[in-house]
Amino acid sequence: MPSYSITVNSQTRSVTADEDTPLLWILRDHLRLVGTKYGCGIAQCGACTIHIDGAPMRSCSVQISQLGDAEITTIEGLSAKGDHVLQQAWKDHDVPQCGYCQSGQIMTAAALIRDFPSASDGEITQTMNAHICRCGSYPKIHQAIKSVLS
């Protein structure tokens, strides 16, 4: 099996895995970063969202061999103490129900507020539409994101 050296949350990690292994399982099983969740495996639900070079991506649909020297950020690396403004906003708005979708939601939202600090209500919805929350916490997700935008 080939070996890969990848950069995750600013650390270089080396893993041995088949080249078609989705990054999702590298993170969860090999590096034991389990905040990135499995929901569908086919880029439909967003539970596995991470950042690759800052852009939100579906880790279930990116293979280890495609990464090269890209910088990967997972929910565990989003902030040093879990105090990213969105993590705080998620707490203030008591967003999660079962909570399972939320790390993926936060990763997409974090890219949104960084790149579009004055996103409109409609743009928030359009962006977050890429995610499924089976529990229906959508109103709270929207409110939490909106609360941190200028």
Partner: protein, 708 residues
């Protein structure tokens, strides 16, 4: 949960049973993971004193409360400890919540389901908190050589009238020597400080930072990852298989047959998934392979037939029909549905000669423990089940077929394994919400409702109706009939079982009936309640008064009577002992109807945690709308036609309305909240869409019908 003798000896002192079977603390408590700390000014204690199975108190005054019931997103891990903390009279900030393990000696009903956790936990949890408070008072009275009646408590401290104060932390060791009183005094509702205030979900920090919390996050040194290939259709059984290609995948440790299934064991998840797809197998189909057309035909046939014994038969329905000026008759049908919790089924199992260790997301741990003891022929004492937070349930995790698979597989290979169902397994294997249908007939005489006859049928539904629910008791000539159909497609409870579609049928029927009778839809319901026959109160589960109140408040909050040209739809329902009325508003935008707003009024007794409660209400409504609009699952030759979220549509953010939630203030004991806002939602939406489009909706899902 097996207890060692040492642990029993250590804590045997505090052993009398108070409410809810409260016994004593045991050593497994300290092995519980998933501590949740709130921001307390008090330092973490160096030592802890076990006060009961629910409570331990640290020397600095911090308090750990064990949350007995499984957490599936209904927020009981926050709200159940809140109830106990209230009676214990501590500062919520000083509380640490831990998930308890399965322990049938010390807790009652460790089940999540039927919106029952709070309803059934209410009194036992209050008593458990009050019992420990009483022990602390006795300890303080001993120290001060006075009577407990002279003393008061507040925020984790005991106060002497002369101004002396002792913290719970200082009193814990003395208090632990007292027996908990059986009937400790409970607070007056007016003195509640925690209940009724919004408290954050106690797992919030772990959730937003991605800490391991869910069953799927379980990891134990040396465990193998397992994925199972199942027969491709319900009704097929495994004949033979070839695993030579599968075994070439790197990371595969073993491939084994387990009854009708083939399990792949690997050193991580991906090789297991990959190899399971490379298995080739042949199947026999000795059982019938069922089709949705056939299901539909059978359902329609059954609802036109009388049943051997009606579940309710008031007055004389046949003569009411014969004498009617007009009869309105309609039928309604809904498909099977998967539950689709976002965390797929999974479970950890480690079966050895000494023990059976199970760990994962399950709503019914005790039931599974009993089944597995039997299946593996092991004494129950050998088996432990650890409960994790669950990534949603919606009824799915009441059924432990995946727990059993994990146990059998680990027993067979004698290795620790973490079993994962892929999303495709999860969506196609079941159990499912049963497909069901209703026929409703109403007799109208002198422009009043003189007779009502509902006949329901469903697959694997012991009772497709709810004859103790509204409108029973409000209509003189009234018949309820139910038929069950058998199938080899497994079915089970799905959030708000039965009523998730029954309410749709009845509440859209009432809308159409009001139109036919030229009555206002809200007024029709109020008029019906007026006719409630009080002599039947014992035969129904609801009270007409709170029902009337939620209807009127929803009417007024949505300005129903002043609606002008707005397209509103009304619906109300009683279930899980709670009363709910909902109004939906639709608009037509670019020729497409959209639901823009839902007003929801709920009477669920005392609201423990308004923050979590709003989430449950919103979640139930969104779930109800989403599945009514899009939820579809059909079978062709026994195989489900949806496999993942590309073919099964779940509601997304752009499709939800604004939601206005109002709780009726109440001093009644709390009732269910995880489910009751779902049943009326589909009908409120369908009725609003009718107002906007002029098209009635009788079947679910209805998005195609309306949008295109």
């Amino acid at each position: 949960m097996s207890l060692t003798d040492t642990s029993r000896r250590d804590f045997i002192k505090v052993s009398a049973a108070a409410g809810g079977g409260l016994l004593l603390g045991v050593t497994w408590l300290t092995s519980c993971k998933q501590d949740t700390q709130l921001e307390s000014p008090l330092p973490m204690p160096a030592s802890w004193k076990e006060m009961s199975a629910y409570v331990k108190i640290g020397d600095t005054g911090r308090v750990t409360i064990f949350s007995p019931n499984p957490e599936i997103g209904q927020n009981v891990k926050t709200s159940m400890p809140m109830i106990l903390a209230e009676e214990l009279d501590v500062d919520w900030k000083d509380v640490i919540v831990q998930q308890a393990g399965l322990d049938t000696d010390n807790y009652t009903r460790q089940v999540a389901g039927g919106s029952q956790s709070i309803r059934q936990g209410w009194l036992p949890l209050r008593k458990a908190g009050a019992a420990v408070r009483a022990m602390l008072l006795m300890a303080a009275a001993e120290v001060w050589e006075t009577q407990t009646t002279d003393l008061t408590t507040a925020l984790g401290k005991v106060y002497h009238p002369d101004g002396r104060v002792l913290g719970y932390g200082q009193l814990a060791s003395i208090a632990a020597a007292y027996d908990p009183p059986e009937d400790p005094p409970l607070k007056d509702l007016a003195d509640f400080k925690i209940i009724g205030t919004g408290k954050e979900n106690v797992d919030l920090h772990a959730i937003v930072t991605g800490a391991p919390l869910y069953g799927i996050d379980t990891y134990r040194e040396g465990m193998l990852y397992a994925v199972i290939k199942r027969p491709p259709a319900h009704g097929k059984s495994l004949k033979s298989y070839d695993d030579s290609a599968a075994r070439t995948v790197k990371g595969i440790v073993d491939v084994v047959q387990m009854q009708d299934k083939i399990a792949v064991l690997a050193t991580s998840t991906w090789p297991a998934i990959k190899a399971s797809k490379l298995l080739s197998a042949t199947y026999t189909d000795d059982d019938p392979l069922e089709n949705s057309e056939q299901h539909s035909k059978m359902l329609q046939e059954m609802i036109s037939k009388p049943s051997a014994s009606p579940r309710r038969d008031d007055g004389d329905i046949e003569s009411a029909m014969a004498q009617a000026d007009e009869i309105l008759e309609r039928s309604y049908e809904a498909p099977f549905l998967p539950h689709n919790p976002l965390e797929p089924m999974n479970f950890y199992a480690d079966v050895t000669d000494e023990k059976v260790e199970l760990h994962g997301p399950i709503q019914t741990p005790e039931w599974q423990l009993n089944r597995i003891a039997e299946a593996l022929s092991r004494p129950k004492e050998d088996i432990s089940i650890g409960m994790t937070r669950m990534g949603g349930g919606f009824g799915r995790r009441l059924y432990g077929n995946f727990v059993m698979e994990a146990a059998l597989l680990s027993d067979q290979v004698r290795k620790p394994i973490q079993l994962l169902w892929t999303r495709e397994d999860d969506m196609t294997e079941g159990p499912f919400r049963p497909a069901s249908a209703y026929r409703i007939r109403a007799a109208i005489k002198d422009n009043s409702l003189s007779g009502y006859h509902i006949t329901g049928a469903g697959y694997g539904m012991r009772n497709a109706c709810r004859e103790r629910f509204w409108p029973t008791g409000c209509i003189e000539n009234y018949r309820v009939e139910s038929h069950n159909l058998d199938s080899n497609i497994p079915t089970g409870a799905w959030r708000a079982p039965v009523t998730n579609f029954l309410a749709f049928a009845e509440q859209t029927f009432f809308d159409e009936l009001a139109e036919k009778m030229k009555l206002d839809a809200v007024q029709l319901r109020l008029d019906l309640l007026e006719k409630f026959d009080v002599s039947l109160q014992e035969e129904v589960d609801y009270d007409p008064e709170p029902m009337r109140r939620v209807i009127e408040v929803a009417r007024d909050r949505s300005s129903w009577n002043e609606r002008g040209n707005r397209h509103l739809g009304f619906s109300c329902y009683f279930s899980h002992n709670s009363y709910v009325a909902e109004v939906a508003e639709a608009i037509i935008k670019d020729d497409i109807p959209q639901i823009t707003k839902v007003w929801c009024v709920v009477d669920c007794g005392i609201v423990i945690n308004p923050k979590g409660a709003i989430n449950q209400v919103e979640g139930g409504i969104i779930d109800g709308i989403g599945h009514a609009m899009y939820g579809d699952l059909r079978f062709t030759d026994g195989a489900a036609d949806v496999r993942n979220f590309d073919s099964f549509r779940l509601i997304r953010m752009s499709e939800i309305p604004e939601i206005d939630v109002h709780f009726i203030p109440s001093d009644k004991d709390p009732t269910g909240l995880g489910e009751p806002t779902l049943p009326p939602a589909g009908a409120a939406v369908a009725n609003a869409l009718y107002s906007a489009t002029g098209t009635r909706i009788y079947n679910q899902p209805y998005v195609k019908k309306v949008v295109g």
